[in-house]
Amino acid sequence: MTELLQQCINGLALGAIYALIALGYTMVYGVLRFINFAHSDVFMVGAFAGYYLARFVPAASVPGGILVLLGAMALCALLGVLIEKFAYRPLRGRSTLTVLITAIGVSLLLQNVGQRVFGANPKSFPALFPLRYYQLDNGLVISSAQIMVFVVTLLLLFALRHIVLHTRIGTAMRALSFNPTAASLVGVNNDRVISFTFALGSALAAAGGILYASNYPSIDPLMGTLPGLKAFVAAVLGGIGNIAGAAVGGIVLGLVETAVVALGGSTYRDAVAFGVLILILLLRPNGLLGKRQAEKV
């Protein structure tokens, strides 16, 4: 019983990280109907930004950690805006496939520039936040890093919902996602809204990168690839474009993976994750929470 509960905690913690990365995928998709494959590499840049920024703050302190987190989010937001401006904006209005291939190109560019600038060797990520372990009386263990992932994911989830549903820029984002031409006709500055969307998505990726690295403190320039793909699966599983769906998809995927490993199939871990993607595309292409009429974004 204890083992089962502990595995549930493990699965939830892993799932929360997938959910956090999936939020960024799903938001950009919701507005632009385009899968930003460079997201997983912005995630990596976020982790490295944290690695370098951590030198300027006291180690393992809450205010220092939050400063680094915000700093990395700001840097990656800027990076997201730049990527959009130089790589995607010139292709606006072209076929989706063109933009998709460009996104893969940006992803490879970031990986290789990352190997050049940061070095290809794995680095150990410093402890940003104080790390504690909470031992429950029946032998269950949960770490402060795991709790933080839950808290941050939930906070960002609600913040995102609020921005999208209850702010002017959010209304503009939704308008753009329904009909870009009509939106610009009624005075929405499409360029600004799209830039904002990328800034927000990239800031989420940075937050994901830092929390991921805090939980698994070994970072390298190719670290984004696998979690990025898994988060993409999570986003599709929950219904891509649907914010709550990304969270649900992430959690489900984390639990499924942990269950597979716990039952002795650790070698099939990734195969099962991608099998889930194939199944969901065959059986329920709109995802668990995605309905045709559902509010996208």
Binding site: Q115, A120, L226, G264
Partner: protein, 385 residues
């Protein structure tokens, strides 16, 4: 998975450079006679870069010492090396390039058994001797009679770890977490299990992961439930570091131990204080008072800003010295004759002790057990073959 293709581009450029060089040298005498060309393929960047770099630095030191002392057979050694970025699929290409383009007389490499296994068939087919400094999987030298190594093998290391678990750790029940993507890890797990079980020990849980995984909590939770006396982690340091840290997080108090794949300063950075009271077996300790060892340690420190050499550095150094010794005895760099001289290596004194190559072309030599105490690696004991 997306794998960047820079090495290919680089080797393409390197080929061009070689071609260009040929063009210029074309009107002169044949270039082959001037130097002895030795090739190396190494993981200078990527996942096992720490190993590759250490081994490479040891190798460079040996080449420099030999050249400073007048070279081998009166010729300078020309050392050509290539990086495989710790990725599969590069090493065979590099071996081909070294043999056909650069015309090396011997190939040195690699640390990881998986990548040595990629290059070995190429060396064997071209009858160019290959010496692996520190690949411990037995399959490496089984490739053919031109493949040698200057380190001990996993069957020996596994037997030694089984003995150590039983005698020093007093463990009856052991759990194993191994990397299915690394022949080294799977092999070591197997060679540990056989003698350990034969001596009355029990393997209570065997978990697997894929190299590069970051989350091991599911496997470790299963292990925790099996309450072993000790946990064997026969993987490489990046994964082993995360496994040790996560095992302690989950409240596993049993000692963890592993093989020579653990030996890297990065292990200390990744796992930190979680490593206290863990053990691993390796080839070499810089604390050894043998004058040959101390001479090597001093030379290495002088060349590398005071950095203490690890086992990979010592084995990289020995791989060159064993090769040079064989070339001297053979009196030629001709493939088959050099092979025979290498096979006859007996009690060659090196930085990792006396090296004798057995009929299976493996070195038989002593191993040391290290532990982590007060945040640094410390010597525990030496176990003879």
């Amino acid at each position: 998975m997306k794998q960047p293709r820079i090495p290919l581009l680089l080797s393409a450029l390197a080929c061009l450079a070689v071609l260009a060089g040929c063009g210029k040298a074309g009107d002169g005498a044949p270039a082959a006679a001037a130097t002895i060309k030795v090739g190396e393929f190494a993981s200078l960047t990527g996942k096992e870069a720490t190993f590759g770099q250490s081994s490479h630095k040891g190798t460079l030191l040996a080449v420099e010492e030999l050249n400073a002392a007048g070279g081998v057979l009166g010729k300078q050694i020309e050392f050509i090396y290539e990086d495989n970025r710790s990725t599969p699929g590069e090493s065979a290409t590099i071996a081909k390039k070294l043999i056909t383009r650069d015309k090396v007389v011997a190939i040195l490499g690699e640390v990881a058994s998986g990548r040595s296994l990629e290059a070995a068939p190429i060396a064997q087919a071209n009858k160019v001797p290959m010496i692996s400094p520190s690949s411990t999987n037995p399959k490496v030298t089984e490739t053919g009679d031109y493949i040698f190594r200057v380190c001990f093998t996993d069957p020996f290391q596994g037997r030694l770890l089984a003995e150590f678990a039983k005698r020093t750790l007093k463990a009856q029940k052991v759990a194993i977490v191994s990397d299915v993507s690394a022949p080294y890890s799977m092999g070591l797990a197997q060679y540990f299990r056989e003698p350990f079980v034969a001596n009355g020990g029990q393997v209570v849980s065997e978990q697997k992961y894929t190299g590069g995984d970051k989350d091991f909590k599911a496997q470790l939770t299963v292990i925790k439930n099996a309450s072993p006396d000790a946990v064997l982690v026969p993987g490489y340091y990046t994964d082993a570091g995360l496994i040790v840290a996560q095992a302690r997080q989950l409240g596993i108090k049993a000692p963890l131990f592993g093989g020579d794949g653990w030996e890297a300063p990065e292990l200390l950075q990744i796992a930190g204080s979680a490593l206290e009271g863990t053990y691993y077996s390796t080839h070499f300790s810089a604390d050894n008072t043998d004058p040959l060892v101390q001479k090597f340690v001093a030379a290495y420190k002088a060349k590398n800003n005071g950095e203490t050499p690890d086992a990979m550095a010592a084995l990289g150094y020995d791989s060159v010295m064993v090769l040079a010794d064989a070339i001297k005895r053979a009196g030629t760099t001709d493939g088959p004759k050099l092979r025979d001289a290498l096979a006859a290596t007996k009690d060659f004194p090196g930085a990792t002790g006396a090296t004798t190559l057995d009929p299976q072309r493996n070195a038989s030599k002593a191993a040391v057990i290290m532990t982590v105490k007060d945040g640094r690696f410390q010597y525990v004991e030496t176990i003879a073959p």
